[in-house]
């Protein structure tokens, strides 16, 4: 297991390296430098798997002590339920106990069309078409009635939100409820599904032509819609440094946050891998 590194200890290590660089052979310092760099990068990787551990994007809602307490609670909940890494576009199966039918539990399979919220308010929406009826379920990620979260297919899509599946042809959001989990080789990058979805003709729930969507086919709208979309577009927003600053958490803060929970998260991850291996061995192969 990796030692817990705080931001101070990292800087101390760096300082120490600088001080003794003359005494040590150069290759050694370089190696340790590389090691710390690698460790930093590994810690930073957590932000993809655990985005809800980062503070609120709204600056006025942040408070360090609250966030710390919140993270402790999140880790405490994760010791009881395995919430694996998943992204918008992944296919999930969630088993949860139902308050309204005691003693029973529900299993819902669907594609994740939204993932958001920070801290204990983290949530995601699963969508599926069941008996020709589109169904969406909003799950609270840290709800103690969630029994199991399985990732059946780990992949990303071209967009951050897949709300447009509501206006797409039903086959794009239909998934077999008895789907088997697809195993991926360890350490492989998460594949991006480049599928382009065909939308139903208007009327729609939203003006999709204004949202610069990557994962949809040609919308086949009259020219005036695109002219209007170009008028209301805000292409300068991606250059707005202040907005970017408000929205993002600096790398230093991220390392500080994740190094705090890292050891716990990593031990959880190791447990999960062990379990996975066990599952793979135990699983009987279907014959014929």
């Amino acid at each position: 297991m990796l030692p817990v590194l705080t931001r101070n200890s990292i800087t101390n290590v760096c300082k120490g390296l600088r001080r003794f660089s003359s005494a040590l052979p150069k290759s050694d310092t370089e190696v340790s430098k590389l090691k710390t760099e690698k460790l930093k990068r590994e810690i930073l990787e957590f932000r993809h798997a655990y985005p809800e551990f980062l503070p609120d994007p709204k600056i006025e809602f942040r408070n360090k002590i609250r966030e710390k307490l919140e993270r402790n609670d999140m880790v405490a909940r994760r010791t009881q339920v395995d919430i694996p890494e998943f992204y918008v576009g992944s296919i999930l199966a969630v088993t949860s106990s139902d308050r309204h039918s005691g003693g029973k539990s529900n299993r819902f399979v669907g594609i994740c069309i939204y993932r958001g919220g920070c801290g204990l308010r983290a949530e995601f929406i699963l969508r599926n078409v069941i008996d020709h009826q589109g169904i969406e379920v909003l799950y609270q990620m840290y709800d103690p009635s969630l029994q199991k979260v399985e990732v059946l297919r780990l992949e990303k899509r071209l967009d951050d939100k897949l709300y447009y599946l509501r206006d797409a042809l039903p086959e794009y959001s239909t998934f077999d409820p008895n789907m088997e989990a697809e195993l991926m080789p360890e350490g492989a990058p998460v594949p991006v599904n480049p599928i382009k979805v065909k939308l139903k003709p208007r009327p729609w729930l939203e003006r999709w032509e204004r949202q610069n969507l990557q994962g949809v086919q040609d919308l086949e709208l009259p020219e005036k819609f695109y002219i209007k979309a170009a008028q209301v577009a805000t292409p300068w927003e991606k250059y707005d440094l202040m907005k970017e600053y408000m929205r993002t958490i600096p790398v230093e803060e991220q390392t500080e946050i994740f190094s705090e929970v890292q050891s716990k998260l990593q031990s959880l991850e190791i447990d999960r891998k062990k379990l996975k291996r066990k599952r793979v061995i135990v699983k009987p192969t279907k014959l014929a």
Binding site: I65, E70, R77, R99, R121, P144, S145, Q147
Partner: protein, 366 residues
């Protein structure tokens, strides 16, 4: 009155009677003139409390050498926070009864997050961090001067406890302001607040109050200053409906419309809801349940997400005044009389709350 008394004396010249009326005759003999006011005009109706002094010193470059700066720091450390009473040393012979009013505390609203109950329900809770509260001064009931005097009424039989929170740099405060803290010996605080207490529920000067002043399962009232929204229209300020966006409506989409009738009532009635300044007022959220207490960071988890004030603003927490939510068990009186140490459990939960490290909830079948 003087003439009638004179008649009595005239009729009966008994010395004993004379003695009896002696006291009366003294008051009568003094000519009844009004005491001259010290003001040439009627005295002010509102008097600021004694602790309302100028707080912050104007900033000036002191050109102190680093050594001197260190020395000032040392002096500050040596002068304050010495011989403060420990929680264990506070003794009281009085048993808590529901009629006794305990002090409140100064806290900071640090955010909102959900807790789940054992029955699976989600409850939004607000986190209130109890700051480093210390008793600065106690005004007994007869000494306390309210801001506005109400005549012909026995008001306020309660004493007043002045409590401070959040240590500040004494060199940044005025001499007058620092003088408020000499009696208690507490490091000057940034926030001061007064709490009315029953004279039996008073605390010694310099005593500290922590989050365990409250107990899980009990209810509190939280007072805070609402978010300042500035001058707002009638739709935002009072929730009016406004008027239609189209169908021939021009220039009146968010306006209030009519503000009164004619004839007898041909004026704007007092209290009519109109545009104006919204927020930045003290408001009390009453009857909030405490679900959880963290003893390490002194945090209360309190039900509800509409507690007045922004995140990171100061609020004041009191035992609730609502009669139906009065505590059933005796409260720590006058406050929690033990130091918080390592042996304490870090979190104290209400029995209805699901602890995050507990196993997943399975609902029982019928």
């Amino acid at each position: 009155m003087a003439t009638s008394l004179a008649n009595i004396f005239h009729k009966c010249s008994v010395t004993s009677l004379e003695n009896k009326f002696l006291t009366l005759s003294i008051t009568c003999s003094v000519p009844q003139t009004r005491k001259k006011s010290m003001f040439p005009f009627p005295p002010p109706r509102l008097r600021n409390p004694t602790w309302f002094t100028k707080k912050n010193r104007s900033k000036s470059d002191e050109y102190l050498t680093p050594e001197n700066r260190e020395f000032v720091k040392e002096v500050v450390q040596d002068t304050y926070n010495k011989n403060l009473p420990l929680a264990q040393d506070i003794t009281t012979n009085v048993e808590w009864t529901p009629k006794l009013q305990r002090t409140g505390v100064i806290a900071r609203k640090i955010g909102i997050y959900p807790l789940w109950m054992k029955d699976g329900k989600k409850v939004a809770t607000t986190l209130l961090q109890v700051l480093d509260n210390h008793v600065i001064h106690y005004y007994p009931p007869e000494e306390y001067q309210p801001v506005r005097k109400i005549r012909n009424r026995v008001y306020n039989k309660k004493g007043c406890l002045l409590i401070g929170a959040e240590e500040g740099d004494p060199t940044a405060f005025t001499k007058e302001y620092c003088g408020l803290f000499t009696e208690s010996g507490v490091m000057p605080k940034k926030i001061l607040s007064r709490f009315f207490v029953s004279p039996d529920a008073t605390l010694p000067l310099g005593a500290s109050i922590n989050a365990l002043h409250f107990q899980v399962g009990n209810y509190v009232d939280v007072r805070g200053k609402t978010i300042d929204r500035g001058f707002q229209g009638v739709m935002k300020r009072h929730g009016f409906k406004g008027m239609p966006a189209s169908h021939g409506v021009t220039k009146t989409h968010r306006r209030g419309g009519c503000i009164g009738g004619g004839g007898e009532k041909g004026r704007v009635w007092p209290g009519t809801k109109m545009p104006g300044h919204m927020g930045n007022k003290f408001r009390v959220a009453k009857g909030l349940k405490i679900y959880r207490i963290n003893t390490r960071y002194n945090v209360l988890w309190v039900s509800g997400q509409a507690i007045p004030g922004e995140t990171n603003s100061i609020v004041y927490v009191y035992d609730t005044k609502l009669p139906l939510r009065a505590p059933t068990k005796p409260l720590p009186f006058p406050t929690y009389l033990q130091e918080l140490d390592e042996s304490m459990p870090e979190d104290v939960y209400d029995e209805s709350v699901h602890v995050f490290s507990d196993p997943t909830i399975f609902f029982k079948g019928e």
